[in-house]
Symmetry: C2
């Protein structure tokens, strides 16, 4: 990060992922097991290809996602979370909880109900699971 607006940690966080798309990619990797460009493209929010490439590059440069060539297909890349990326979990969970609480059209599904019941347990559980998947 070069052009930071201030030394406020909230501002610095927003400098990196303060847009409408970055955290949706993180969500896909973190909670939906998606790992590739084509899988991200299929998400219901319909991200444009140029935006997707741009965000993947930023997230890689920021060391939030790690990019590796697929072992089964040399023209395919596999994205995975770094420790830094996995540490975004609490933010994602809190946003999920807030969004579900204040949007009637956002039904709580399995994970949403777990969060409502015991948020910190969900975070602890999922962060354990994510630890096994770090690359770099």
């Amino acid at each position: 990060m070069q052009n930071t607006r201030s030394d406020c940690p909230i501002s610095c966080s927003l400098d990196v992922f303060g847009d409408k798309w970055s955290l949706l990619i993180i969500r896909d990797v973190m909670l939906r097991g998606k790992v590739s460009y084509s899988e991200f493209l299929k998400s219901e929010e319909k991200i444009a290809t140029n935006i997707l490439v741009n965000r993947l590059n930023i997230l890689e440069v920021e060391n939030i996602l790690s990019k590796q060539v697929s072992t089964t297909n040399k023209s395919k890349f596999i994205y995975s979370l770094t420790q830094k990326g996995a540490d975004l979990l609490p933010i994602v969970i809190e946003m999920m909880d807030w969004g579900a609480k204040y949007n009637a059209n956002c039904p709580r599904r399995e994970l949403g109900k777990k969060i409502k019941k015991d948020k910190s347990a969900v975070i602890k559980e999922l962060s354990q699971a994510l630890k096994k998947q770090f690359k770099n």
Copy 2:
């Protein structure tokens, strides 16, 4: 919110405050006791006046901020958090913690150190304090 991209709560949250500025205004109200247009303008990130007006309007329409005429100055507006706005506290705290952890140029000040020591205690404490300030 009309043009939601999907019924995912994370996506719906980002539809509302997924940009580089909205949460900085929230931060100013929530953690720095700022309440007015002119105070928001003074923040170190130097938000432009048209962006500030636009975001204040959105946050008011979304019922995150409440706007009231100042009792001492009829041409001045006082912004305060609603319950919905105060419920953004965990997100703000988590972003603060993540930003401080991964930015060497973001020194943890008093609040940052408290968060590192016992995050949930800070959230509980601050949400109690915010409850006393709700409008509408």
